[in-house]
């Protein structure tokens, strides 16, 4: 990689060991993907829940945080993805004090590095929306696909160490979705139904992601006969990224880099479209269906809920009560939790027997240990992303509309 004088200085250790580690790591990754040089980034977003870090990862962070002041701090606004647990709710969810201790240690280390603990995977809704053409180092697949596709910003999936490295150096290797030629559509999907609930939008993203099947594919989606809102695109993108490792999609006429179909493919001939119709949607739901079975846990998360989603869930629970053998969990960002407290949504959800957790997103929160502690197995959610993830943690998940999830929580059974 071609390095500037500043980058050479970091590599030689003149800016301290933290920045030296960071740029060495970035050069290894940049070489792997044939990056010619670095590109400055305006913001970094770190996924670093303690379940992923483990004790050794937290100890590594603490070593970095123990460097000299002036040599350890991030140099651009650097924020965090959801954490491993919420200190207010962890006991109710069967998480342990040891997990909480690890979480506090990690949080303290990040703060010593100057990282802002935003603890959110919906920072594009709640912290600072990206701008078209902005280069970023976003560390959550759902965030990356949203800022790339809906906002026209430029980011790769940046794993925790790489996002932290970007925070420490203020740059990232110029490869992948920082390059215009990589942003060209590679596949065409023609949608033949109108998604209604957020679960439908997630299912659509899941179907496209599964078919796209790889980080370097860029789906172009036509046929949507409606104007989706931010939450709908959030669920579609998060599921597409989860099922397909997809980081960018275009919707001609809607997303900023695709005014037309031709522009989505950067002037190249568009490939034969792959039809996604009502039958594919039904099959997607059907593959996870468990009619009549008991529901252990109902989860609204992945991504965290917007204030509008929180209001919707609260309204569906008004005057109702969650079944005594079922747990209902809602996960949102600290900012939205505070707003939900202020607006009374938290009281309405918890008054009906639910739990509103802040700064977490369920699957990043020791999901296996929670299942064992609470005897959970069958999970109901409106998040297609969560459906894709949680099977590996020993759960049997089902996908349903937001309303059907609430009904399942009340009845304690799947419809």
């Amino acid at each position: 990689m071609k390095l500037t004088a500043d980058e050479q200085a970091m590599l030689s250790g003149e800016a301290g060991p933290a920045r030296q580690w960071a740029i060495e790591h970035q050069i290894a990754v940049g070489d792997y993907f044939d990056a010619a040089d670095f590109v400055p980034v305006s913001q970094a977003h770190i996924m670093a829940d303690t379940e992923s870090l483990g004790p050794s990862g937290v100890a590594w962070l603490e070593t970095l945080a123990g460097q000299l002041e002036g040599q350890r701090g991030v140099v651009i606004p650097t924020i965090t993805d959801p954490r491993g647990l919420d200190l207010e709710t962890y006991r109710r969810l069967g998480q342990t004090d040891a997990m909480a201790d690890l979480e506090v240690r990690a949080s303290n280390a990040f703060q010593a590095l100057g990282v802002m603990m935003t603890n959110t995977c919906i920072n594009y809704q709640t912290v600072l929306p990206a701008v078209r053409g902005e280069h970023l180092a976003m560390g959550d697949t759902g965030v990356t696909i949203y800022v790339n596709s809906v906002m026209g910003a430029h980011s790769n999936f940046e794993g925790g160490p790489s996002a932290l490295a970007a925070g420490l150096t203020g740059r990232t290797p110029r490869y992948g979705y920082h390059l215009k030629e990589r942003r060209k559509g590679t596949q065409h999907f023609e949608v033949g139904f109108t998604p209604r609930d957020l679960a439908d939008w997630g299912a659509l993203g899941g179907i496209i992601g599964r078919a796209a099947n790889g980080y370097w594919e860029v789906p172009v989606i036509t046929g949507l006969d409606c104007n989706p809102d931010s939450d709908q695109l959030k669920h579609m993108g998060a599921a597409m990224a989860s099922f397909g490792s997809t980081a960018l999609f275009h919707v001609p006429g809607l997303t900023p880099e695709a005014a037309t179909l031709a522009e989505a493919f950067q002037g190249a001939r568009s490939p034969k479209p792959f039809a996604v119709g009502a039958a594919e949607l039904e099959q997607f739901y059907g593959s996870y269906a468990q009619p009549g079975e008991k529901v252990d846990v109902v989860v609204f998360a992945a991504p965290q809920l917007s204030i509008i989603e929180l209001q919707h869930v609260a309204s569906l629970l008004d005057g109702r009560h969650v079944h005594k053998d079922t747990t209902l969990i809602v996960a949102t960002s600290p900012e939205n939790k505070s707003a939900a407290d202020r607006m009374g949504f938290t009281a309405r959800i918890e008054g009906a027997g639910g739990i509103v957790a802040s700064g977490v997103c369920f699957y990043q929160s020791y999901a296996r240990e929670m299942a064992e502690a609470n005897g959970w197995h069958r999970l109901l959610t409106n998040s297609a992303k969560l459906i894709n993830i949680i099977g590996g943690y020993g759960y049997q998940p089902s996908l349903a509309s937001t309303e059907a999830c609430v009904e399942g929580a009340i009845a304690g059974r799947m419809r």
Binding site: M47, S56, E158, P161, Y215, G244, G391, G394
Partner: protein, 138 residues
């Protein structure tokens, strides 16, 4: 007679070990029970099998960003794979390999490694050379 496979220059040290191959994808978060060292996602083609100390040969990387931390954490507990070979990978697994100093290569010249390599093959993986050698192929 050894069979040499050229690939893109990779990450991590040269290693020798036994292949575990599947025409399936990989995410440390989605697919593994990292405490037991096994593939735990029921739908995965390697479900129930141990990956510890094996050279995984898979199609592509899937899922979220957690694998970037997890590969190092698994290695430090002695519960990681020895190397991972992909047809092509995403950024997360490459970043995770760099953080963990785990051997990883992809982009093979002769096609998909999941078709070129069989479970049980003894492999020498040399990321710096962009080369994988099947040591015991007839």
């Amino acid at each position: 007679m050894p069979v040499e496979l050229k690939c893109h220059k990779g990450i991590g040290p040269t290693v020798t070990g036994e292949a575990l191959v599947a025409e399936d994808n990989f995410s440390a978060r989605y697919d593994l029970n990292r405490l037991e060292g096994t593939f735990s996602r029921p739908a995965h083609k390697l479900h129930g099998l141990s990956y510890v100390g094996r050279i995984l040969v898979l199609e592509t990387a899937k899922g979220g960003v957690a694998s970037a931390w997890m590969l190092r954490e698994m290695a430090e507990r002695g519960m990681g794979p020895l190397a991972i070979l992909f047809n092509d990978t995403n950024t997360i697994l490459a970043q995770g390999a760099a953080f963990a100093n785990l051997a990883m290569v992809d982009r093979f010249e002769k096609g998909r490694p999941t078709r070129l390599i069989r479970t049980g093959d003894r492999l020498r993986v040399a990321p710096a050379e962009g080369r994988v050698t099947i040591l015991d192929r007839d």
